[in-house]
Symmetry: C2
Subunit: 425 residues, 2 copies
């Protein structure tokens, strides 16, 4: 089954937004074993869009289109695809009701041009959109004597990604008898190329399950994907492969496993919550350079309130002193970016919130503020719990930008708490 | 001058990496007034690559290729382009010396396949690569009776981006007279489709500047783009169009303008920082459901430390009481999600941090925890400053997911502070 991705949007052609939908769908297609040889982007121009659809349908079985479904672009993608398949557009009352309900639920007035979103090619499969207004659509028909499919998804990643997973992926999997199961092994303290070097023999020896390392912004992930006749067999194949990987050199880097997109995306924070619950500990933070990113990341997870008490964002030294009780002498003698200050911040957060374990960060996120002895990318961490106080300094490198340094700091802080709760430090 | 971008790399087709080169080059092309109607991705497959080059050169004047220049892909891009232009490959001694020097400098052994990187199409312009080994190349020739250009850049963004700016951009600017300038008008309290309905007559009447609304996750943006012979004329055309838009119904929704990608992305927080500085006020937060997102968002901006003091993440009621001093009776009588609690949180944050103005949020982010009187999506806000305390309740809708509700809450809280500092509330 050959797929092709066509991204529609002038904002993509202008480089206003980065095409993350394309990479997301491409990866998902690869994971379920569908080939993809071309990916294209065109703007909101009907003639060029039609031409691109025609060319793509000439060389693939399933064309997946993203974008061009919103009310302002007159749904040009939908109309162009309907024309290519020789289908008429029809008002779909059910979709119209959903759009009306959506606007009512978000307390906004529905305008005339939203009605066009309820116009659907006849005979299309409708993917209901729980994340926005424009429904996704799948059409199927004969073109040039061959069966072709087109799947249309909204452009915003917050709608495109969940709709691909919940609607388009099952639709695609229905075309085949096989089921696919993926297990993610999450690694710390190792980069993608080093992981790839270790795994190379396994990657080359096995084709089902496949084994592939992925570099995320802050960690490396090994994705094991099995194809089988039923889900239990696919799971068993992944579990067997996991044992092979664990028994090799890569084993010592694995800190958790996940098998859902939500889990994969939130592996570190979910592991942190699990360890806190297992240890019966509440948690709080004291953040300087991350300014609340750690507590916000924990708060991303529904139900985090059973262990997350809160935190102190002590961006200014006055807050470090007055709220967290960092002694003035520590700030004068060692500076705000020091292990001594990090220790006092963590202890202070534990004292004022009453949490079982706290983590603190204070560092130089850049681009300015670095010195020879305290360069951009230097971050001091503190941990406080009933066992005492732990301190550590990390250098994330002055070549990295502010956003990357703060993200790595956030993830590393959570990993320190995990290590502490596991008795590793 | 019509450009087209062709990204070469199987890792892009598999979704292993996100295509940031494409967006980067597209934005740079738009900025210098070069049109781009198509962008494509193909893998490291010679036959499909040749076909893609042929199709692209058939519809553009300048084809910009990224990737497929490294030693492991056998430089397939270079050879395919040389063939299409009917050029022979020749060993370039100067490039070979550079590659040898690079390997000597990084203390690595140069392998045989690195020599292929010094093979260059005859007559090509060479872009020396200060950031890696593979040089960039520009070739020019007649194809089908028309003058065509091809520019080849390495794939890794750390090489592609500086090489585009330092080598390819000057090469392109030598070909044209026009420049492009874009002005973003940022709107609040109005959705994309409503904005589009208001702007429709202007969008249809004008082609230079163009006017287009874009929906961001939390606001609507109008982009005004002018093309002219020089930057001052283009800016003046955008300013004139801004006056037309401002004098119409859309005017009352505009809260700021930006003209850089960084500004556009951070419009709300940059406006907040500007208003704080203008008013000589320091800032702090008291966050419950956002758990630090507001302070983290402010901390995203380099130099925020002149006004951001910090904040209290009071996820648990104990922290609301013990750190922020919310009276126990308020929590018992009105609950944590109440305007009364929000008011006490904001006042408490102001007291403990000493900030000039504070904002607080407490709400139900979901998916659980909603009731008939306090549904998911209900958020109470508080503002405290020398004028007193302001409270407001917003309903972001139970259909929205947790991430979206927290994002909207974060942006709305910042907007409340902006309104307060502007004397609107």
């Amino acid at each position: 089954m050959i797929c092709e991705i066509l991204n529609v949007g002038t904002e993509l052609l202008l480089g206003d937004i980065i095409n993350t939908d394309g990479a997301f769908i491409a990866r998902e297609l690869a994971a379920i074993g569908y080939s993809s040889y071309h990916q294209s982007t065109v703007g909101d121009n009907p003639a060029r869009l039609r031409e691109a659809i025609r060319v793509a349908l000439g060389r693939c079985d399933v064309l997946i289109l993203t974008g061009g479904l919103g009310p302002t672009c007159d749904d040009i993608t939908k109309v162009a695809v309907a024309d290519e398949f020789g289908l008429k557009m029809k008002l779909n009352e059910e979709v119209l009701d959903e759009i009306k309900a959506y606007f009512a639920a978000v307390n906004r007035v529905m305008t005339e041009n939203n009605i066009s979103q309820a116009m659907i090619p006849e005979g299309a499969t409708i993917f209901h959109n729980k994340w926005g207004t424009a429904p996704g659509i799948a059409v199927c028909g004969e073109i040039g004597g061959e069966t072709k499919h087109a799947i249309l998804l909204p452009g915003p990643p917050s709608e495109c990604e969940p709709m691909f997973l919940e609607c388009a992926k099952p639709y695609l999997l229905n075309m085949s008898d096989d089921v696919i199961y993926s297990l993610n092994l999450h690694l710390r303290d190792i980069g993608e190329s080093a992981a790839e070097q270790i795994l190379r023999p396994i990657m080359e020896e096995y084709t089902n399950p496949t084994v592939a390392p992925y570099a995320l912004e802050h960690e490396t992930r090994i994705r094991v994907t099995a194809r089988a006749k039923d889900i239990e067999s696919a799971k068993a194949m992944c579990r067997d492969m996991k044992k092979i990987i664990e028994s090799g050199e890569a084993g010592k880097y694995i800190y958790c496993e996940t098998d859902t997109p939500f889990g994969a995306k939130n592996a570190t924070v979910l592991t942190l919550l699990e360890e806190l619950r297992k240890n019966g500990k509440t948690f709080a933070t004291a953040e300087s350079c991350t300014a609340g990113m750690i507590s916000a990341r924990v708060g991303d997870i529904p139900g985090a309130s059973d262990v997350l008490l809160g935190g102190i964002v002590s961006y200014a030294n006055e807050v470090k002193e007055n709220v967290l009780g960092v002694p003035h002498e520590v700030l004068v003698q060692y500076g705000a970016v020091s292990e001594q200050c990090a220790a006092k911040m963590a202890e202070g957060a534990r004292r004022v919130t009453g949490a079982g374990i706290t983590v603190s960060v204070t560092g130089i996120a850049g681009p300015d503020g670095g010195t020879a002895t305290k360069p951009v990318g230097m971050v001091c961490f503190g941990l406080a719990d009933e066992k005492g106080t732990y301190m550590e300094t990390k250098y994330f490198g002055s070549k990295r930008n502010r956003a990357k340094i703060r993200l790595l700091t956030t993830m590393y802080a959570m990993m320190l708490v995990i290590r502490r709760l596991r008795g590793e430090i």
